[in-house]
Symmetry: C2
């Protein structure tokens, strides 16, 4: 995302790190604005997503994400699946074809080596599904109590192939259609259910998956998106609030058009979560001209990972607010989450 | 390094991770051989250093390292300086010009934000010294007791500019000169002294620094090295044992030719360390034809970071062993460290 400098942010009343600083919400942005931007300087397009840079006469993108999910294993994936899919999807959201990944492992003394073996196998499977390889890595070990089993930081390099020099919020235009590649809320609820020993029927599995196949087809065969964003920390609502602010445009979405599995909806009601703000790991919002929405949906629906793609809304005029039309026909304003709704979800 | 498949390694009698698995020695290699290579597959030139890959018709290198040093601050640098210098130096060792860095932060709840601000400023200073920028990042927060203040994983992308398509142990030839860019042992002893509250006179400061200036001059103006290796975990001795095995050649070095600060030598004697195996963060071993050694030394000595560069040995014939001639004129065989001589040194 482009860091919002033009919108109200909590003042820096914190002198120490809180869990909320890791939530990917406005408090994370405060940290970026107050600590990282002054240090690393402008222009820094992003300290959260894939960033374009020039290499060998071409355009590439670099991204990194640290994974601290608990528990390490959950229905639909594990920390290794996440580490690869999250990084691959971040590259795709920048309009880049993933080329190479690296993985840094921070292991806590006492971690069963069999656990590491299972996680590495998951990373390989996810990398093969995205047609990319993990080519560099590092391993560090910390003593008992200085970690939590296993942390993985993956970085990815991709080649920007999307027409127009890559995707970005600045390219969103009034009238653009807002598409969703699939149903939302599965990753967050799958991890929460596992963490708290809850079982739902039907069981909820994370949506964790690489979006390479459909996104690469959109980049190469079209129609090319103006902007795309994977819906991780903060979920669909958090991503739309960020993008509306970055683009300086109002968005309006139809809640009834947003696919949510019944089991996910029930779990959210039970635990008091709004599905719109629950993290996903295999779902993205896509912005492109409204007259190309049907062609894009047809392309997305040809791929299993985005078979449930839907048109969920439209970009309006100048502003920066996100409104959701409810089943009752009323409009509610979506507000960016300030902190951590679901700690250590990725 | 190229992972050694042809040398004796400890059998995998461990079912759980020990501190020694993070030492960068033969136990780390066992982990790579038993867990990572089977998962990520061959050809994987390395899971520890910068790996070449093709992008946009050119050749690039990707590297990653996780930093878990304790304490976070020490004479001569801090975890931020390390995180940038280590990654920059890894790229240089592959014959690449550093282009872009990413940084993933894992913060423990309660970390003073001022600490993060100081570390970020150190990262910026180190990046400016290496003429590279941190362009992407990520922040995660874990609860108290699930971390140790601050862990940083940096990744780097560079463009391979060294003649001959990059540096590698396979390019080491019999008769090659072995150069050292500076004095050894300062980083390891500086961190150990700080950790244990020891003060030496004169005080010991880490050698933590980017080797960009001299290495880039060697790549562009020559003479170009066959191979170079920064002397981090395992120190000079560990690196030479790895490289001798990878190259399948014997090395012989002169201990009296290796610069070691008197304060470092005294600290090592006091604490029972062999300076040859103490980690460094701004020092490298360089291999190139013997008749080009003087020209390379002249180049290195023009730069402050490598002003104490020295010729320390020579590559012999087939084998894979490293011998050090002592001050007494006797030869001692150097053995690769199996595990962790100095835990959490980087």
């Amino acid at each position: 995302m482009v860091v919002r400098m033009n919108c109200p942010l909590p003042n820096s009343r914190y002198s120490a790190i809180t869990m909320a600083h890791g939530g990917g919400g406005t408090l994370t942005e405060t940290l970026i604005r107050d600590v990282f931007l002054p240090a690393f300087g402008q222009p820094t397009p992003s300290l959260l997503d894939a960033t374009p840079f020039a290499i060998g006469g071409g355009r590439a993108a670099l991204t990194t994400d640290s994974y601290v999910v608990q528990p390490l294993f959950f229905p639909g994936g594990d920390i290794g699946t996440l580490a690869v899919c999250g990084t691959v999807n971040d590259l795709l959201m920048a309009g880049a074809r993933p080329i190479a990944l690296s993985a840094g492992f921070i292991l806590e003394e006492g971690l069963p080596i069999e656990t590491l073996r299972r996680v590495a196998a998951s990373m390989r499977a996810a990398a093969e599904a995205a047609n990319v390889r993990v080519i560099a890595g590092d391993t560090k070990v910390v003593g008992r109590g200085a970690g939590d089993g296993l942390y993985i930081t993956t970085s990815g390099v991709g080649e920007i192939i999307a027409p127009g020099g890559g995707l970005s919020p600045e390219r969103i235009r009034p009238g653009d259609a807002i598409l969703l590649t699939g149903d939302i809320g599965r990753h967050g609820m799958a991890v929460m259910a596992t963490r708290h020993g809850l079982t739902f029927s039907p069981p909820i599995a994370s949506d964790c998956a690489p979006l390479a196949a459909p996104m690469l087809e959109l980049f190469t065969s079209g129609p090319p998106p103006h902007c795309a964003r994977d819906l991780t920390r903060g979920g669909l609502g958090g991503a739309l609030c960020e993008l509306a602010q970055s683009a300086g445009l109002d968005f309006e979405i139809e809640e009834t058009a947003i696919p949510v599995e019944p089991s996910v909806r029930h779990a959210c009601e039970l635990l008091g979560f709004d599905p719109l703000f629950v993290p996903n790991e295999g779902c993205a919002a896509i912005f492109l001209p409204h007259d190309q929405a049907d062609a894009a949906l047809a392309c997305l629906r040809r791929h299993e990972v985005s078979a449930r793609a839907a048109l969920i809304g439209r970009v309006g005029g100048r502003g920066g607010a996100v409104a959701a039309r409810t089943a009752l026909g009323t409009l509610r304003r979506l507000l960016a989450p300030s902190g951590e709704q679901l700690p250590r979800i990725c």
